[in-house]
Amino acid sequence: MTEKMKLKEGLSYEVVVRDKRGKILEKIAASSQSYVSVWNQCLYVLNRHTSYTITDTGGTGRSVSYSSSVLRANAGVGEIDHGIRVGKGTTPITINDYALEAPCGEGTGVDQFLHQAMAASSPAVVVSDCSFWVRRVMVNNSGSTISGIREIGCYVMTKYSPRYCALGYRDVLPGSVSVPDGGSVTVTYTLKVTV
C-alpha cells in the first residue's frame, strides 16, 4: 500500500498568548504529542456498550458506563474538571498519563487562571479532510505574570453523576510560555482525519 493510501488522523494544537490589550505576544503551533490510553478506553465503552474502569484525573479507577457524557469536553466558565487545561509540568508523556502533571487552578490567586467556556467548531469537510476544533481562553487576573507554562491537555468527562473526568490528551510544549497579568492564553486543539 502506498503512503498516499494511508489514513492520516491528526491532532494538533495552537497556543496563543495575548497581553491585556489583546496584542499577540507569542504563538506556538505543532502536532499533538498524544492521546493517552483513556481515549481508547472511552471509545471502547461506547463501541462495546459496556462498563470499564477508567482512571480519573485524581488517579482513582472509576467504573464508567456508556452514556452521552463520555468524552464530553464542553466545560463552562470556571469549570476545570473537564475541558482544556494548562499547567507547569515538564514530564514527557506516557500512554498511562491520567492528568496534567501540575495544572494551573481556577481563580485569581498565584498561578491561577480564569477559565472561560470551551468553544468548538462544527465539523467541516474540505476535499478529503474532515476536522473540527475545540478551544479555551484562560485569563490571568492573578496580579502577576504566570510563567513556566509547559503543558496543555484536555480533560473529558467519563460520567456525569457522580462526576468523573479523565485525561484525553496531553502535550508538553517545546518551551515555557509566560502570561502577563491581565493577559490570556488561548489553546486550540484541532482534530482531523484525511482519507
Partner: protein
Amino acid sequence: MKRQLWYKAIVRDRNGKVLSRENRRSRSILGNWYRILYAHMAFTSTSLIHTSGVDRGAIYFGDNWKFKADANEDSIGIVIGTGIAAVSIDDYKLDSQILQGTSSGQMRHLVSTPGWPSVAGSNCDFLTSRTFLNNSGGSITVRESGIYCRVKGPTYYGYACIVRDVLATPQAVPDGGSITIDYTLRITA
C-alpha cells in the same frame, strides 16, 4: 502522536485451512467518526448522513458509536461488501454491502464484540473482530470492509458508517468457507 487503525482479513475454507490473508493499515476512518466525536465533545448535535442515505444528524447519546453486533445483524458492527469505489471522506455506507443470509451473494454474520483495551509498552490497542460464513452455495469475492455503528440524531435512531476500506486484494470466499475481519485501533504515546 500516532493513532492508527489496522485491519486484517483472513479467508478459510470449510475445513478451517487458511487460504489467504491481508494485514494493512486501514485506509480510513471517515468523516462520520469525527462528527460523532464532535457531538460528544461539544455536547451538541451536528449533521450526519445515516446509512439509509438520509441526513438524520447526530447528537450526544450513550448509544452512539456502539458497534457491538449480535449474530445475523448486518446493520451494525463490522460489515463487508463487493464494491470497489474509492474511499471518500463523506462515505456513508459500503459501496455494495453483502447482506446477512444464505442466498446467493449473502453471508452469515457472526457476533462482533470489541475486546478489552490493552496497554503494551507505549501502545494502547483494542481489537474488534467478526467472522462471516459463506453458506450461499457459491463463491463470494469480498472487496471492501467497514464498520457501522449506532447513532442517534435529534429525532431519529439509525446507523452510521464510520470506517471503510477497499481491500488491496479481493478475497474470494469459497462456499462453506469464511472470512474474518479484524480492526485494531491503536494509540501510541
